[in-house]
Symmetry: C2
Subunit: 108 residues, 2 copies
């Protein structure tokens, strides 16, 4: 199984982070990761085909938002919360609030 | 002179806002608008040709970030700060901090 590449925090830009968050599928993945320590791709993909979501996971990884590790045949994903909080203080908190407000609005 | 269209705040999505912020030219415009009440396109375009920046102003308007009004032959632009703060509490504050941190890093 190939090893995933993850950027160092100083390598990521705020533009990249915003771009990664500009898609509803990726926002849904981030929203789920906000509520859990770690989750498999299967638990996060909303039943979408692997071919369609693997791109989104890559964008999230390359933007520094998500860390993916291999566990057996699964990929386990986690938000890089501590590092993101250091690099862009407060960002993840407001992003979470906005995502959950959005989810509430969509459900209403 | 044509009248600019602006979405109502309930019409904009957080994805759109993040997309609008995912480009360095648009971030630069937002950064300048953070420091001023209102500014003309000329004062914000960083000397870029009108053909290139008018697209960026449109993206910012359509995402609900910027309000543009005609004043004589100029377009005057302002952040929709109060409305954005109501719709996505805290977002603009963190965005500003991230943009200015980024500007500092770029200048260093």
């Amino acid at each position: 199984m190939r090893v995933m590449k993850h950027p160092a925090m100083h390598e990521i830009s705020i533009e990249q982070v915003f771009y990664a968050l500009s898609d509803p599928v990726r926002l849904e993945i981030v929203q789920k990761l906000c509520r859990t320590e770690e989750a498999s791709c299967n638990a996060l993909d909303g039943g979408r085909p692997k071919s369609s979501v693997s791109h989104h996971f890559r964008v999230l990884r390359e933007a520094g938002l998500v860390w993916t590790r291999n566990e057996g045949v699964s990929h386990m994903n986690a938000l890089r919360r501590r590092e993101l909080d250091e690099r862009f203080p407060g960002l993840l908190t407001v992003v979470e609030a906005a995502i959950f407000a959005r989810a509430g609005a969509n459900a209403a």
